[in-house]
């Protein structure tokens, strides 16, 4: 069996909560979709872009960005599970003591009682979610949850849902300025995404 095929897409902050409150919607096309390859070498500007962060006045935050990951071909497999994202020290060129990449798994409104996730908020800002830092090592355990807050998703050609998550970068006042991306020496900024399948 081959590895299943997954994709990452960024969607706009203004996407309505009603646009992502069903499995079909979360997997389907959204009006604000943009293809993005989180951690892939930059090609055609397809990186997840946190924008420009002005630290001239002290510690500052980036805008919040929304992403989702789903699977479009099962490769003969029937399940994907244990989804996690992490930012290895070697992939992170930030040196400021309080520069942190924060994330939160979000769920559609069809998850009426979120606990491992928070319901998606349109036009989210830093104060919209209770964030957690992206781990600096492989957590081995799941840290990205589907809306139903299970640990797996069924594959039947495609996955039965998508992973939605929000992220932002909190930048230390003394951080070295410049553009942080990919494998640029001293300005590395690349994520690892890992999951299990069978």
């Amino acid at each position: 069996m081959a590895e299943p095929t997954h994709r990452q897409r960024q969607f706009g902050l203004a996407e309505a909560t009603t646009a992502v409150d069903t499995e079909a919607e979360r997997k389907g096309a959204l009006g604000t979709d943009a293809a993005v390859n989180m951690g892939e070498p930059p090609t055609g500007g397809s990186e997840l872009d946190f924008g420009i962060i002005d630290i001239s006045g002290g510690q500052a935050n980036s805008v919040v960005v929304n992403s989702r990951i789903d699977w479009t071909a099962d490769g003969g497999n029937t399940l994907v599970e244990t989804f996690r994202v992490y930012l290895l020290a070697a992939d992170n060129g930030f040196t400021g003591g309080s520069t942190v990449v924060n994330y939160e798994t979000v769920s559609g409104a069809d998850q009426g009682a979120p606990s491992a996730t928070e319901n998606y908020v349109a036009n989210a800002v830093v104060g919209s979610y209770t964030w957690q830092a992206v781990p600096a090592t492989d957590p081995a355990s799941i840290n990205l949850y589907p809306t139903d807050e299970g640990t797996s998703m069924v594959l039947s050609t495609t996955s039965d849902d998508a992973l939605l998550f929000a992220m932002y970068v909190q930048v230390d006042a003394a951080e070295v300025t410049g553009t942080y991306k990919a494998a640029d020496a001293g300005k590395e900024f690349r994520f690892t995404f890992k999951y299990a399948y069978s």
């Binding site: 951690g39 244990t82 070697a90 797996s152 494998a183 690892t192 890992k194 999951y195 299990a196 069978s198």
Partner: protein
């Protein structure tokens, strides 16, 4: 006594399995599921979910010249084996000190005592052991074989 060249031919045929019309990458990569009655099921011929999993006493991964084994010997708390793969992408530092990106391709085998899962993570390209680690069964029940109904928790 079998002629030496005949023995070599048999070994070559076992490893390459040209009769299976496989993609080249799987001629030197396969998993074996050893049942208690001596039967050996080959992943190149059967999906693991079609194996009588309750009868499996040993799982073996063959990748190139590397072999990794998990069995139930000496494990009184043994419940069942796990058998899955890792996908995704990661970054690493090459020999020139440069960051590179690569797809994550790992085969994982292990066993569970019903509470924790003891896993061997094996690099698909080289067959080398990446690491051994323990994970709570609660976060990976989906990887339990469907015949092991007392542990599996299907959606």
């Amino acid at each position: 006594m079998k002629h030496v060249s005949g023995i070599i031919d048999d070994v070559t045929a076992l490893h390459t399995r040209r009769d299976l019309h496989l993609d080249n990458v799987y001629r030197r990569r396969w998993r074996e599921y050893h049942l208690f009655d001596g039967t050996v099921k080959d992943s190149r011929e059967i999906n693991w979910r079609q194996v009588e999993w309750e009868k499996v006493v040993k799982v073996v991964v063959h990748i190139r010249d590397e072999v990794h084994t998990v069995d139930c010997v000496g494990k009184p708390s043994f419940q069942t084996f796990v058998n899955f793969s890792h996908g995704g992408f990661e970054h690493f530092t090459n020999e020139r000190g440069e960051l590179e990106k690569r797809a994550i391709r790992q085969w994982c085998i292990g066993w569970t005592d019903g509470t924790n899962v003891f896993i061997k993570e094996i690099d698909f390209a080289t067959g080398l052991l990446v690491r051994e680690y323990v994970e709570p069964l609660a976060v990976m029940r989906g990887q339990i074989h469907p015949r092991v109904t007392h542990l599996a928790n299907r959606k």
